[in-house]
Amino acid sequence: MGGAGGAIETMELTRMQTEETSDQAKIRELDAFIQSLGLDGRDAAGRRAVLIQILHRAQGLFGWLPEEVQKHISAKLDLHVSEVYGVVSFYHFFKTKPSGRHVIDFCTGTACFVRGIGKVIEQVEAQTGTKLGETSGDGRFTLGSLRCVGACSLAPVLQVDGKTYGRVTPEQVEAILAEYK
């Protein structure tokens, strides 16, 4: 009896350790990147100039910008954490919540609006049971929007994990979603 419980605890512990090490590895990679920028001897303005670049890299590594990562960057750059958070919250591109396994971004530019992205969004929301800006309960999809990807000839456009689908009709939604488990 105690043995089974112990096994589960061990598994849980291993899982946590793996997660921890993978996060640490990411932090190490981020630190190496910051190191490569050669910040030694730069004044606050000089360190601030690379903040957005570092946030891009951090989001590339973690998929989003957890509070701890923002604090870590603030310490590395010797900028107040409120300043780092101020920048993160200003730009749409930076995410402060983790995403689902797949990210669906709808283009909400004018051409897509005129060509009917609204009906496509409704259809995806209905089929995933998720609202725009949220992640589905099973963690499969996060629905987001982009301001014009500049592929207006393909309107209406959506992207799944960066892959662009053009001239999308509400009827095609089911087949597109089925590609992503």
Binding site: A45, R48, A49, V50, L51, I52, Q53, L55, H56, G86, V87, F90, Y91, H92, F93, F94, T108, G109, T110, A111, C112, F113, V114, R115, L146, R147, C148, V149, G150, A151, C152, S153, L154, A155, V157, T164, Y165, G166, T169
Partner: protein, 600 residues
């Protein structure tokens, strides 16, 4: 690549590139591989052509990964340039057609089945900013040099004075293509006059207007033209360093810029002591992070500094106090793309194109309810109608167009009765719109103007940085009034309220975003007031009414698609829609392949 240490070494290099072409001219197959091309399947087409060429072992034919020629509606597009013959364009190319094409070119002088585009698409156009797009490999500096690239930079560094360069650009009459239309030469002159060092040159590649994609096309199709122009500008104003501020939404453009910068550095066209002239210039790319307001130059400067992209009051103008308080010149991508041709062909040549007040050409991005979606570069003074109907091919459903929206969220809607207006900065301003970056969103009869105004206000509310009250609160109130009108709760007195508030925001907002954000509301109120009045009278936007016309062949496709089974009629007999049951979803119209469903 070896560094070219002197102007003479560059001239020899350029001559060698051209001589190679002259002794063994090649047939080139250009595959359009910008973002829309790739998304339409240009990758497999390129692979198929490359594999077929490798198998055939024909050294006289070369396949090129090119940028976009602007015929976006026909993607994937392939162009064939046989030496001494006009370029032939093919549209909707499949990998199989690509392989076939290679076999055809081995025996015939020209490919079969060219795309029939109608003469107007090309005859009305004059390509200056887009001159190389689709006709060179953007990842090969030799291709750019073969077409005259970097020759002007070498010439300038060989003894032209900065003042002479500025005088040429000023005399050409070139005005900023980002929207405001400030004279470029004058901007450079102010920066030259600023005493403080260091100075900076910034390329604004934060093309945020939804529906505008000409800057993306230049960056993806001809990145070196921007680099050469920035170096020239750096020499003219006395800057040694530049930044290209590019949207994060344009990963391919960023990649091609990175490749181009590395090549320029390797050849010694960027860096210390360029071509032995003693002039040093280098630049780096700064990524945006999805904030529309960063297209405004003071906001953009703050973003490069690593801050929140909030604008500041002008003056001081960036030429006086910009990046880190130093003199900074901000030029748009399309503006910079015009510099090399102006230097090569002369100010008088450029000045003679377009109209007396607006010299040169403008690139427009056609999108929305128009047949030929794509890019078109036309001389200033071309009428709206020529662009929409002769190049754009008119509406998709063949019915007359209703309006066109220019200038994105800062612009306005221009009604069809004004389509004969020649396009200039001032003429569009007089119609309550702006030139903006050149996005043209075409609207057919079905588009509700109230909904369009509502859409843009939502955009402006979302993108307002929140710094000044008129923009942060005023736009929100405009949006709420529009919400109310669309929900059927509008009152007649809402319309003068919208106008009054809109004008106050225009007069009092801090930056270009706020000062122009009410334009979509004000212009639709001016030209389409009756739609607002109908909306108030009818309790919201009337849903479209669908009817079946005589083109119906009785195939039952629409009846099967109808979610409420309200379409009746036997096979091969004209169908009828039961209006009492119809939920106005439009599924029948989407399904019908014969254009037999009308909507009003």
């Amino acid at each position: 690549m070896t560094k070219l240490a002197t102007g003479v070494a560059f001239a020899e290099f350029a001559d060698a590139v051209k001589a190679a072409e002259a002794t063994a001219p090649k047939t080139r197959i250009f595959v359009g591989m910008s973002t829309c091309g790739v998304a339409s399947g240009a990758g497999p087409v390129y692979d198929a052509i490359a594999a077929e060429l490798a198998a055939s072992g024909n050294p006289a034919i070369e396949v090129v990964r090119a940028g976009c020629v602007g015929l976006c509606y026909a993607e994937p597009t392939v162009e064939v340039q046989v030496p001494g013959r006009p370029v032939v364009t093919l549209g909707g190319v499949t990998p199989a057609r690509g392989r076939e094409l290679v076999k055809e070119l081995a025996v015939a002088a020209e490919p079969a089945k060219p795309l029939s585009v109608g003469d107007a698409i090309f005859k009305k156009q004059l390509r200056i900013a887009l001159r190389n797009c689709g006709r060179i490999d953007p990842e090969k500096i030799e291709d750019y040099i073969r077409n005259g690239g970097y020759v002007q930079l070498a010439k300038i560094l060989d003894g032209m004075k900065p003042e002479e360069v500025i005088a040429t650009v000023k005399a050409s009459g070139l005005r900023g293509r980002g929207g405001a239309g400030f004279t470029t030469g004058l901007k450079w002159e102010y920066a030259r006059a600023a005493a403080a060092a260091p100075k900076y040159i910034v390329c604004n590649a934060d093309e945020g207007d939804p529906g505008a994609f000409m800057d993306r096309s230049v960056l993806e199709g001809d990145p070196h033209s921007v680099l050469e122009a920035m170096t020239v500008a750096g020499y003219a104003i006395g800057a040694r360093y530049g930044y290209i501020y590019c949207r994060a939404e344009y990963p391919l453009a960023v990649k091609r810029l990175e490749v181009a910068i590395a090549q320029s550095r390797a050849l010694g066209l960027l860096g210390e002591n360029i071509l032995g002239s003693g002039f040093a210039f280098d630049l780096e790319i700064k990524l945006g992070a999805g904030a529309f307001v960063c297209g405004e130059e003071t906001a953009l400067i703050h973003s490069i500094e690593g801050k929140r992209g909030e604008p500041t009051v002008k003056p001081p103008f960036p030429a006086e106090s910009g990046l880190w308080g130093k003199s900074t010149t901000v030029n748009n991508v399309e503006t910079l793309a015009c510099i090399q041709p102006i230097l090569e062909k002369g100010a008088a040549w450029f000045k003679a194109i377009g109209t007396p007040k607006c010299a040169g050409t403008k690139v427009f991005a056609l999108a929305g309810d128009v047949k030929n979606v794509g890019l078109a570069e036309v001389p200033m003074g071309t009428t709206i109608r020529e662009v929409l109907e002769e190049i754009g091919g008119g509406s998709r459903d063949g019915r007359p167009l209703k309006a066109v929206q220019t200038g994105g969220p800062s612009g306005g809607c221009i009604p069809a009765e004004k389509f004969d207006t020649p396009i200039e900065y001032d003429t569009l301003g007089a119609l309550g719109s702006i030139m903006g970056s050149g996005g043209l969103i075409v609207m057919g009869q079905k588009t509700s103007m109230v909904k369009i105004a509502h859409y843009y206000m939502e955009f402006s509310c979302d993108e307002s940085c929140g710094k000044c009250t008129p923009c942060r609160v005023g736009n929100r109130r405009l949006y709420e009034i529009l919400e109310r009108i669309l929900a059927g709760k509008g009152k007649p007195e809402d319309l003068p309220k919208l106008e009054e508030l809109g004008n106050v925001i225009k007069d009092t907002a801090l930056c270009g975003l706020g000062q122009t954000s009410p334009n979509p509301v004000l212009s639709t109120l001016r030209w389409f007031r009756s739609e607002y009045e109908d909306c108030i009278k009818n309790g919201g936007v009337k849903p479209p009414v669908y009817t079946v016309n005589d083109k119906c062949i009785g195939c039952r496709a629409c009846a099967k698609a109808c979610p409420v089974q309200c379409i009746e009629g036997a096979l091969k007999k004209k169908h009828v829609i039961d209006q009492s049951k119809c939920i106005h979803c439009g599924a029948c119209e989407t399904k019908c392949r014969f254009g037999a469903i009308d909507s009003e």
